[in-house]
């Protein structure tokens, strides 16, 4: 009780301090250099006809000597972020050695960049005062030498990558009207801590919930209960993670409010609940439970009220996912023998079977708009591959092709990428891949990592 009050007090003090700092920095800011205003037609940098624009992202310039590390990180991470959506072709950074380094925007050697084939070039500076950094970034059209994007950022030097992620998202928005995912995060279950549950019959691996940036950097442990913690999913506001935990000896649902240090238990007092999934508005959770003797789907309000049974069939119904409008739920059922994907209305009506050509299909995950498709894991031999069912055409396409076993797909919030679990590198790791099956990338490397979820 006392601790809780102390925590609240601390929170208030911190909030006031933060507000104070913000106000001061807003007053004290020095005027930014006058920027050339782009005309509307010149804002978007285009490439040669039929090819993506070619961007160069050299190292940022350290305006103070102690900003060198941050400057280096920014250039590399921004390059990676801008490549990720594949809207631009990023000219490899090791080819920039022929281009003279510009210390100021006036010195940018446009001719040399043009010679390297660049359509756009980024120029950025980093200034560091104590632990405060001030970052200025500009994007130039190399052909017209016009500045098309200019912005300043300030904050602490705690996580330089976040500035690059912010810049990448804003450039994607401005240049391609695209919602980038550079500031999103992945949640997953991992045994990387290498703790063991000492006890009955055999010692067993602990699995805890972790989060990391979308590129795998900055991973952090979320749960600390030294039990089995599985299948995390993000709340739509990306501030909460619901997951399945065995901390009480049986699977039950927990929500970690990760920035408040608060834990919620929507199904407290029940038993045998697993695989939660938030409704798109975040108010409800659909999950699997065998509370009535057999695995079926249930919906509960986030506060634990309004429990309602969605399916009632003697077979297994599990792995639910909401449609983006919240009106339908796709799930796995073995009511026809083998596990297959079905869709049912959130009211429990209008059940229909989706997959008919698979021998085994599980973990459906509904894409965000504008795509209207459901990804799932399908048995394709000894292991699984990720496939995508297009709801408009009824056509299924394959995303992975037998490189290890590939399970548990989860969509990025812009629908252009999927995270999934794969054994292709030996151990079980999280990978990401484009929805067209291109650009596979390993995200985790430490321990074994399972069941990814991608934040908004």
């Amino acid at each position: 009780m006392c601790k809780e009050n102390a925590r609240r007090a601390l929170g208030v003090v911190a909030a006031l301090l933060c507000a104070g700092v913000f106000a001061v920095s807003a007053q004290d800011q020095t005027p930014a250099p006058a920027t050339q205003q782009p005309s509307e037609v010149a804002v978007v940098i285009s490439g040669d006809p039929g090819t993506p624009p070619r961007y160069a992202v050299p190292d940022f310039i350290a305006a103070t000597p102690d900003a060198a590390d941050v400057a280096k990180t920014l250039g590399q991470v921004l390059w990676d972020d801008l490549s990720f959506e594949r809207e631009f072709y990023l000219i490899p950074r090791d080819t920039y050695t022929t281009v003279p380094v510009a210390r100021t925007a006036q010195q940018i050697p446009f001719d040399a960049w043009r010679e390297l084939g660049a359509d756009g070039v980024v120029f950025g500076t980093v200034q560091k005062t104590g632990t405060t950094v001030r970052i200025e970034v500009r994007l130039y059209n190399v052909r017209t030498r016009q500045q098309v994007f200019a912005k300043e950022y300030t904050g602490t030097d705690g996580n330089p990558r976040l500035y690059a992620h912010t810049i990448a998202d804003e450039v994607h928005q401005q240049q391609r009207a695209l919602r980038g995912v550079a500031r999103t995060k992945l949640a997953f279950s991992s045994d990387r801590n290498r703790e063991r549950i000492v006890g009955s019959v055999q010692d067993r691996d602990v699995k805890e919930i972790y989060i990391a940036d979308y590129d795998g950097a900055n991973s952090r442990r979320i749960t600390t209960n030294r039990a089995l913690n599985l299948t995390p999913v993000w709340s739509p506001d990306a501030r909460g993670i619901a997951y399945t935990s065995y901390r009480r000896g049986y699977p039950d649902l927990f929500i970690a409010m990760i920035y408040q240090g608060v834990q919620q238990e929507p199904t407290k007092g029940g038993t045998q609940n697993w695989l939660p999934m938030f409704s798109p508005d975040g108010t409800r959770i659909v999950f699997t439970s065998s509370r009535d003797g057999n695995p079926d789907l249930y919906i509960i309000n986030r506060d634990g009220s309004g429990l309602r049974r969605l399916t009632n069939h003697p077979a297994i119904d599990t792995s639910p996912t909401w449609s983006p409008t919240g009106t339908q739920i796709a799930f796995t059922s073995d009511r026809a023998g083998q596990p297959q994907i079905y869709i049912v209305g959130a009211d429990g009506l209008n059940l229909r079977r989706l997959t008919t050509a698979e021998s085994y299909a599980d973990r459906p995950t509904w894409s965000p708009a504008p795509f209207n498709e459901i990804a799932f894991a399908a048995r394709t031999g000894p292991g699984y591959d990720v496939k995508v069912y297009d709801l408009a055409t009824g056509v299924t396409r394959q995303i992975t092709f037998g490189e290890g076993s590939n399970e548990s797909p989860a969509y990025a919030p812009n629908g252009r990428h999927l995270a999934f679990t794969s054994t292709r590198s030996g151990r079980t790791q999280i990978h990401t891949i484009g929805r067209d099956g291109r650009g596979a990338k390993q995200i985790t490397r430490d321990g074994n990592n399972y069941t990814p979820a991608w934040s908004n």
Binding site: A14, P31, A32, N159, D205, K207, Y246, G249, I258, Y259
Partner: protein, 190 residues
């Protein structure tokens, strides 16, 4: 006693860390970019720099205790008076062999009338992680149902599914899969 004290100190220390790390995470939303202006006569005031702040997650629970109690029960379980019940691929049906093991285990439970057991349902690695959680549950429930039909009180039997999380044999062949498709009895009170 010493261990309790240690745990207490640990919990308090972690509480303190959690408190000290408690900062309201503020990600200042990026202001919308100013609309492009065509040839303004006076230069517009420069936009304020966007504040970029990193939100740090705060633990929402105390650190779990190491399971070092229950030593005698663990010893008992390591000797494992109960035999595991094995299942066919993707099946939660008890076959003749499975049923005879459950009958044997029911006899043990009747002989030791104070024992409470947890029946754990496990699966081989060939199913998906998600579906296996349900399949393991069905296996555990199938065993419980048969135990109850043999006269064991239902409140002495708990069930839990671990899907394919805890293989008995970590190999990747038929032999490993066969021994991993199982319902395992663990004594939780005696």
């Amino acid at each position: 006693m010493k261990i309790r004290l240690l745990v207490l100190i640990l919990v308090v220390a972690i509480g303190a860390v959690a408190c000290s790390r408690r900062q309201p995470p503020v990600i200042a939303p990026a202001p919308a970019p100013a609309p492009p202006q065509a040839a303004a006569t006076t230069p517009p005031p420069p936009p304020a720099p966007t504040r970029v702040e990193d939100a740090l997650p705060v633990p929402s629970e105390p650190l779990g205790e190491d399971a070092i109690g229950n030593r005698t029960l663990d010893d008992l379980n390591r000797e494992s008076p109960f035999k595991p019940v094995f299942f066919g691929e993707d099946s939660a049906e008890l076959d003749d062999g499975g049923r005879s093991v459950v009958v044997e285990n029911a006899g043990l439970l009747k002989k030791n009338s104070t024992w409470v057991v947890t029946v754990e349902g496990h699966c081989d690695e060939r199913g998906t992680a998600e579906y296996n959680l349900a399949l393991g549950e069905r296996r555990a429930v199938a065993v419980k149902t048969y135990l109850v039909s043999l006269g064991v009180a239902p409140d002495r039997i708990r069930t839990v599914s671990y899907g394919k999380e805890f293989p008995f044999d970590t190999g990747h062949d038929e032999k490993a899969w066969t021994s991993n498709r199982r319902a395992q009895f663990v004594i939780t009170a005696k």
